[in-house]
Symmetry: C2
DNA sequence: GGACGACCCGGACACTTTGTCCAGGAACGA
DNA sequence: TCGTTCCTGGACAAAGTGTCCGGGTCGTCC
């Protein structure tokens, strides 16, 4: 115990840090609620918590992060955490909403400028992932080669499902969705685990070639 | 607590049950040690623990299973657990060794009887998985659509890697491995989550068609 | 078949994390 | 400024983890 507590703790994050950091969960935050109506204190607390979470998963990985860690780093009382989120998973889920919004925005954008390109999410995802390597690795697992994928997998699956709608029967479609999302997530995490050295555009080409052309050729 | 302890507890597993149950981790157990040299008590305890584990993950899922659960169901002292395994992950890892052995046996068998068939692990895996749906679901996650895959992913990756050896440069090969293993695991878990209704042979055909033929056609 | 030694048991211990509750102080919105 | 809402720090019970030990039990080996 010996919880000496004073002006500032180890790595406490202050408001300014939070403010100037654009990340996985930046703006879109209170998109569904009239942003003016929500108490500043609430917004601030949530922001601090999400940021602490965001930073912590990068060097400890999702599983290793405890709620106490988050609160400590965020400089927020632990009891306060529970007034905003029901637990770690809840926090994760809500943080991922931002990603979902960003991605589907990219998706619709890409499909209007280049209507012929199917499954256009992939490039955007590769790019987004590289921009936030740390967060993705923390969220996605990366320990060894595990792929927990939290909710990211579901997000991608939805995008694919939307695009494959109308093809074949439902059963067959679901198999295809599973196939694509699995292959994609796997290539993505593998790429990240190796430091994302290849350019997003390049890895995207390779992925799409395998996906549409099949394994056999080269 | 109130640990009344007597002849038998709630769902304690006895030696006979263990003996007659062929599963994910049956025979190959002490393959690396001269089987005759190891104390029967050790073998028995390990078997009981692995079996309890095996059963528990089927109705609670890997994460929800605690070491206490395992010991209780196995009828083994908790302190004894730690003399055999360092923790839950260790137990899981060792249990998976059996699967690895079984699969690679199947793999080499299939590739000798039908040398033309690449990536022949898939059918065997589908079949094996259906035989042990519960265990796979518990191990693999299945909550929502997450894919934690414990160590199974690594096992499959090794098989694929071995078969793809010598093609292209190392980087490209790893991408392919990631692609195949990801797609496969995803299709597999999706199949299991839907109750494994389709026949293993059928799902295998669909998977291989997507893999070698690409997504576009039908 | 008996003695020795390895193994297992149960219980205790210190520690960490979780989730809940409350009183009092601080900050917000009007 | 005033009332409401939010945050805090602390305490709490519960659950799980990992470690240690004394004493009983069961294999193994002679």
């Amino acid at each position: 115990m010996t919880s000496r507590r004073g002006a500032h703790r180890i790595h406490e994050i202050n408001a300014e840090d939070v403010e100037r950091h654009a990340s996985l969960h930046p703006h879109v935050l209170e998109a569904d609620v009239p942003a003016s109506k929500i108490d500043r204190r609430i917004a601030r607390t949530r922001r601090k918590l999400e940021h602490a979470f965001f930073h912590l998963i990068q060097d400890k990985g999702y599983d290793a992060v405890t709620i106490q860690d988050i609160c400590e780093k965020a400089g927020v009382g632990r009891s306060t955490f529970y007034t905003h989120f029901t637990g770690k998973d809840d926090l994760k889920r809500r943080s991922l909403e931002h990603l979902r919004a960003e991605l589907s925005a990219y998706q619709t954008m890409a499909s209007t400028t280049d209507p012929g390109k199917a499954l256009s999410f992939s490039l955007g995802m590769f790019e987004h992932a590289r921009r936030h390597v740390g967060a993705y690795r923390g969220l996605i697992g990366s320990e060894g080669l595990a792929v927990s994928l939290g909710g990211i997998r579901g997000i991608i699956a939805d995008l694919i499902r939307a695009e494959l709608a109308g093809q074949g029967d439902r059963q067959d479609r679901e198999i295809r969705v599973a196939f694509v999302v699995g292959a994609f997530m796997s290539v993505l995490t593998n790429w990240l685990d190796n430091g994302a050295k290849i350019e997003p555009a390049d890895i995207d080409v390779r992925f799409r070639s395998l996906l549409f052309g099949g394994l056999s050729p080269g």
